[in-house]
Amino acid sequence: MGILQVQNVNKSFGGLKALNNVNLDITEGTVHAVIGPNGAGKSTLLNVCVGRLVPDTGAVLFNGRPLTGRSPHEINQMGVARVFQTPEIFADLSLLENVVIPTLAVRDGSFTVNAWGRVDNQAEIRDRAEAILESVGLAEKRHHHSGNLSRGDKRRLELAMCLVQEPKLVLLDEPTAGMSRADTNATIDLLARMQEEHGVTKIIIEHDMHVVFSLADRVTVMAQGTPIVEGTPNEIKGDPRVQEAYLGGAHL
Amino acid sequence: MVDFLNPSRRGVLKGGAAIGAGLAAPTIFSSQAWAAEYLNKPTGDTVTFGFNVPQTGAYADEGADELRAYQLAVKHLNGEGDGGMLNTMKPLTLQGNGVLGKKVAFTTGDTQTKSDAARASAKRMIEKDGALMITGGSSSGVAIAVQSLCQEAGVIFMAGLTHSNDTTGKDKRRNGFRHFFNAYMSGAALAPVLKEAYGSDRKAYHLTADYTWGWTQEESIKNATEALGWETVEAVRTPLGAGDFSQYITPVLNSGADVLILNHYGKDMVNSLTQAVQFGLRDKQVNGKQFEIVVPLYSRLMAQGAGENVKGIFGSTNWHWSLQDEGSKAFVKSFGAEYGFPPSQAAHTCYVQTLLYADACERAGTFMPCGVVEALEGHEFDGMGNGPTLYRADDHQCFKKVLVVKGNENPTSQFDLLEVVQEVPAEAVTYDASIFGGELGDCNNGV
């Protein structure tokens, strides 16, 4: 049994069937890519997994516990982290503060009023935060305003914010979307390195085949709300159904 | 206890003049209070009055008129101008050379028609500018709030426009004095005139501003009219500043009432009267009688705001510039010459209050509040408009003629909006001081 199980999930928006009886089983420790043409339901699937959307029917289980009906912060506290298509960071805060917050969230839970101690006196939190910034290569910028970072650096920071929580599962929504070739490659390198160092289970939603084939252990192809093929990247490459799904997608 | 309230360098600090004056020593620490018998005892050659009037908000024009009157009063006290009512005031002790030999200076402030702001402004006058007397205001809430402040601080308060029974009733104070008339007196003065004009078989409908002044007026007018034999059909409270009163006016139409009494003041009165007239109330026949509207408290500024809708509508007022007694004529003449238009009742009451205070100081031979209180209590005077007047010792309320007025049908000018129907003598509106309760307490010199 995998770390994340999607069981018979259906989700419609008005008349549009976004997810049609989706089943998915993610093995712990793997990088699992979900690909498919626009409108295949990838993002909806991801939003169902993190609690942003509630499925019409079906369930999502994480380590055997249901995720459906829980709010995003509860799901995160269970060990699921999320990386957004456009990096979601605390743009008004410094890089260090950006990573201190998730560190605190792990130590103090979803709500603790700790209004008296100074943040900068919390040595263990700081050390962890600085260590993770070091590992993504942002240490020297730790006092900078994170809103001024380049897109690639924002992505690194966001990854750092996820990883510092030592999650069991990370969901990445098109982590290289809109990035330059150089930033994309840097991100791939970073993700690959992280996989070596931390070995966290990851689900990656992706368009860019280059990214998928560089990182993924397994790939699921979705079309029109349903997974159509699942296999290793090499198996997927040659599958005619995949070609058709993409070409068919072009027709649409 | 050491007195920290003593003024800091009055005269130098007047207004912002001191901003450039460099570092002035904080005299606030070098208190000389132990030497003074009373708060803010003037040590230089001037004595400071505090004119606390609404400069912003709905009553700003009334406040501006009050300020004009105050400035005129200061001129006259200091022997400038034509002297105004100083020529007619009887008895008169003032010399026309200031008060007790000191020139009168003044400081102004904005009450915003809010108790908080009014008290803050009055405190500044007392604490910073060294004012010995605070005067002004255009609503009872403010008057009562400032009056109790002056009592606590130990200066004299000469109320401006305030019409609630409470000011000299349950909230009266030894250090506070009111020249203006009140709701009870409005009722007492109006009732006989209404009876004569509209008969004794009438059904009245009250619309009342939903706050303390409105309630006291409603009660007073109700009592006075019911004593005539009128019946009160309904008394409805309306939110302050409602703007559109249509939802309160339409129920009047079919209520069976044949008189509408508007216990509103200021903008509320302007709006409710305008709208009531538009609803055709004055063209209506009910119970075989012509429907009538009554506005118990009138002011010229309100009449201006309501325009032609006031025509023929009865109400009461403290004073009107068309009065022909010597005092009124003298005041209207010097005010009109100075500013080009006649004074309002608020201006009159403020002018008179200033003169009365100054005269009381002169008579008492001191600015000490307790001395002034003594000089004003039970003081009888004449020649200030409204005929012979008594400052009653029991509640510090003035008793004098009350004017019943009617909206002028054919105004000859924009100021000629009200016509005096009757000058109701003081005896007719005098009441027993105990009926409104309250305690004057002791006078306070602030030391």
Partner: protein, 387 residues
């Protein structure tokens, strides 16, 4: 871009300087014409109000348009405490903080279900309901238009117990006979202002404060970081409501009268303006904004033609007349005009408020004097929105 870092030491220096400035107000305000007790009390009290408001608005970005309601609740509670318990300010303050906190909890609980302008309108609606009712049907509790005051006939149980029940002068709040008006009243408020400031500094630098700032920047991210944002925002709301209650109670300690206008939406708007004027999210800004607005309210409004003639008397006659009539538009009756123009100028040219304007000036001065801004800098957390 790096900004100067706020360390424990720099905060201590800031607080020390602030303390010094507050305690010496009776000296340095005199040449500005504001060195009299009532205005200084108002500076301290409204400073406290704005500091509290800033904990909500400056940190979380939730713009409450109904904070005056808590000020009013604090005031009424304090006066009722005077009436029932006695003139000692301590129980009055404690009760006021407690009750306004409770009020804030209820209103916050409901209002925080929405964000943005909806949150603002909800708080505004609650405050306006409080105001309208206090002015009219709740008069038995609030004494309506006239305002709630302490009367000699009130029970004042504790006073009578300690034999201070019979007072022949005015009833003034006092601690062991030291009356809370004049300068002692100012210092009493100043102590509370300092406590309030200190607490605010602690909150700003604490993990809790960091979470609040994170709410302002990116609530979505915070949710996906495992933080439940609403309880944080509610706590901030309650804390700032308690500050407002404390400020309201202090208003009554220095002057035992509570009026309903304190709850009007314009009063809520005033604290918003104070905070933004001085600089929302900064430590000192709200206090400076509060001071500026109270100063203009009390000093500009007191100018009249004669004072203007005194000021501009040095000019030649013709010029003086023109200058006085132009200046007259902005003071006295026209002080609102000055205030309105001030807001516009500040918002247009200094969106971060006065404190950010000062900071920009300092940075420009530094740059031009050749001291190139150090990058990196010493240890500590970073771009603190503070100075």
């Amino acid at each position: 871009m790096t900004t100067p870092l706020a360390t424990a030491r720099s905060d201590l220096i800031l607080f020390g300087a602030f303390t010094l400035a507050v305690l010496t107000m009776p000296i340095w305000l005199v040449p500005l014409g504001a060195g009299y007790p009532d205005l200084m009390q108002k500076f301290a009290i409204y400073g406290l109000f704005a500091i509290g408001f800033n904990i909500l608005f400056g940190l979380t970005g939730y713009l409450s348009f109904g904070h005056a309601a808590f000020l009013g609740v604090g005031s009424y509670t304090a006066v009722w405490s005077f009436k029932l318990l006695g003139m000692n300010p301590v129980p009055a303050l404690l009760l006021a903080i407690l009750l306004s906190g409770l009020f804030a909890w209820v209103i916050g609980f409901v209002s925080l279900r929405r964000t943005g302008i909806y949150f603002s309108i909800l708080t505004l609606a609650f405050a306006q309901m409080c105001y309208n009712l206090a002015y009219s049907v709740l008069t038995p509790i609030t004494n309506g238009e006239t305002g709630l005051r302490v009367l000699n006939s009130d029970p004042r149980a504790l006073d009578h117990l300690t034999g201070q029940g019979v007072v022949d002068g005015p009833l003034v709040s006092n601690i062991f006979g030291l009356e809370m008006n004049g300068l002692p009243g100012f210092y009493f408020c100043a102590v509370w202002l300092l406590i309030g400031m200190y607490v605010s500094i602690r909150i700003f630098r604490s993990p809790f404060g960091l979470m609040l700032r994170a709410i302002k920047t990116n609530q979505t991210r915070l949710n996906y970081t495992g933080i439940s944002t609403r309880p944080y925002a509610l706590t901030a709301f309650v804390i700032s409501g308690m500050y407002a209650g404390l400020a309201g109670a202090l208003l009554c300690v220095t002057d035992p009268l509570a009026g309903a206008e304190r709850m009007q939406w314009t009063a809520s708007g005033e604290v918003v303006l104070m905070t933004i004027l001085g600089g929302a999210g900064t430590l000192l800004g709200p206090v400076i904004g509060a001071g500026l607005i109270k100063y203009s309210e009390n000093i500009f409004s007191a100018f009249h033609e004669q004072t203007l003639h005194d000021i501009f008397g040095f000019l030649p006659d013709g010029v003086e007349g023109v200058v006085v009539s132009v200046a007259g538009l902005f003071v006295g009756e026209g002080w609102h005009l000055t205030l309105g123009l001030l807001f516009m100028v500040i918002v247009i040219f200094l969106p971060g408020g006065l404190t950010s304007g000062v900071r920009q000036l300092v940075q420009m001065a530094r740059r031009s004097s050749g001291g190139s801004g150090r990058s990196g800098g010493d240890a500590g957390t970073a771009p603190q929105a503070a100075e």
